[in-house]
Symmetry: C2
Subunit: 331 residues, 2 copies
Amino acid sequence: MSNPVLVELTRGSLTESLHRGAIAVSDAKGNFRVSLGDVAKPIFPRSALKPVQAVPLIECGAAEAFGLSDEEVALACASHSGEPMHTSRIEAWQKRIGCSVSDLACGPHRPVHEPTATAMIERREKPTPLHNNCSGKHTGFMTLSRQLGAAVAGYQLIDHPAQQAVERTLKEMAGLSGELPYGVDGCTVPNFAIPLSALARAMAQIADPRGQAPPRAAASRRIVRAMIAHPDLVAGSGRACTLLMRDNPNIAVKTGAEGVYIAILPELGLGCALKIDDGATRAAETAIAALLIALGAVRDDGAAASLARANVLNTRGVAIGQRRAAFKLPA
Amino acid sequence: MSNPVLVELTRGSLTESLHRGAIAVSDAKGNFRVSLGDVAKPIFPRSALKPVQAVPLIECGAAEAFGLSDEEVALACASHSGEPMHTSRIEAWQKRIGCSVSDLACGPHRPVHEPTATAMIERREKPTPLHNNCSGKHTGFMTLSRQLGAAVAGYQLIDHPAQQAVERTLKEMAGLSGELPYGVDGCTVPNFAIPLSALARAMAQIADPRGQAPPRAAASRRIVRAMIAHPDLVAGSGRACTLLMRDNPNIAVKTGAEGVYIAILPELGLGCALKIDDGATRAAETAIAALLIALGAVRDDGAAASLARANVLNTRGVAIGQRRAAFKLPA
């Protein structure tokens, strides 16, 4: 049994490539609004897990103790593009908690933001772990470690109190029990494998925290507020997450590597999660935009419309095909 | 009916992403050696068509008239990386036929070869159409136009004698009749949609040209010889095509955008073609390597083995999963 086709690319009058995947939309109690494809199979949420990974940071009082701004909370939830607006803020935050770039467990990579990467080459400057798109999340873990009285060194290891707090929180919010299988993310931190349905439910808990204990409910509300207030910090210039949230300041969305996307919809009290089988980002962006339009959660023009249906251009800028969503929600 | 899974990516103990697709291996008469998935559906071969697109260049006498070297024939079949070894040779070739970069219909893009792209940024130099990975193929069309007494301007249009010669040649070699559907490739040239089975057959005609008229048989032999002699020119430093051919100087292979790969196997008299449904290059490279190993066409160590099964590393260089072929050939 294969998952349905969610996105297709055309060239001339033919379909050239297609992307299969699964979609889950849930309320905070785990009732499905949408279930398309295999939503029970464990998937790695990758960076789409970040809003949940940020919950303990706020819930346990670290954010308050260290005076975290909403900008910093947004950066804890970010896969940022390594622009100066990101790295300068993370550097200042690290300084405030007595840490620095050398405490980051993540490795360096070229900034996602091309003009920043180009400017660095022109200055003959090498990327550092600060440019890693996850350096805000890591600084969140460092802050959490400080609050828990744990060593900062080793914050990325599965047995560290910071990761144990994340696993416990995820299980509670996703409605799961037992030990979660995990893999190591690109940034060296554990990433827990959970069913897509459970990921959607965890996001719905953030969207609609009324059933949670007050500290977690407050953490959920703060995460949504911070992401919505700072769409530029959650991703970066020209990125899909940023464009979708800037156009629709009533939702929070987050991409994850290997074709994952989540959305947090406070007004509808819903959480969305999707995974493209083959891991393609282009398809995840197309599918989440089409899903949000279909749910009535976003404006059906602007960023969402451009992502859900776009021309494919050749190297002379001429449209030679389309990339478009290919699914309909069950009535 | 979906195509079988050809490639999977693991993380920890779980499969994270998977790639479906189809594989055809044929002899020159169109008898299948392998048929996996839907090989009858038309696909765009994209740059994997280049060996066939180069046939008229040689068959009609242009290569001889303009004294084309094997290096230039290899470049006509290339998706090159825009390294100086590529662009300098293409520039010299254009000069010899009274053309220049301004005659290229393809648009500019950043060189595929990262160190070349970085060096250009450091010199504040912008890419030109010469850096387009298809500029060798285009220079081949310009040379063919000269030989046919046709205008060079417009060589990329479907009604131009150069493209008409390609369509006629492809139909004959692929065993097809009637008008072929086509789309416009990234480089602005028509790309004809044909079944994967027909693409494999056309490549088998190049591998085993005994049934062809002497000029085409000679063209086929020259194309194979040139590609095998110059693996660096067909792709570039570190690229899969180059590594596979350098390790195995008895085969010619060629990648195409959106997950296509072909192989020309003169010793076995076979042509191979595969297409990954979702268009992923990482999967096409993995699958072609595993296919060639399974056919006994390449050494089962070195480049092929590394492509067929590779560790996935995190940003600290630690292996956190695998990318590997997931199909077995029918016995």
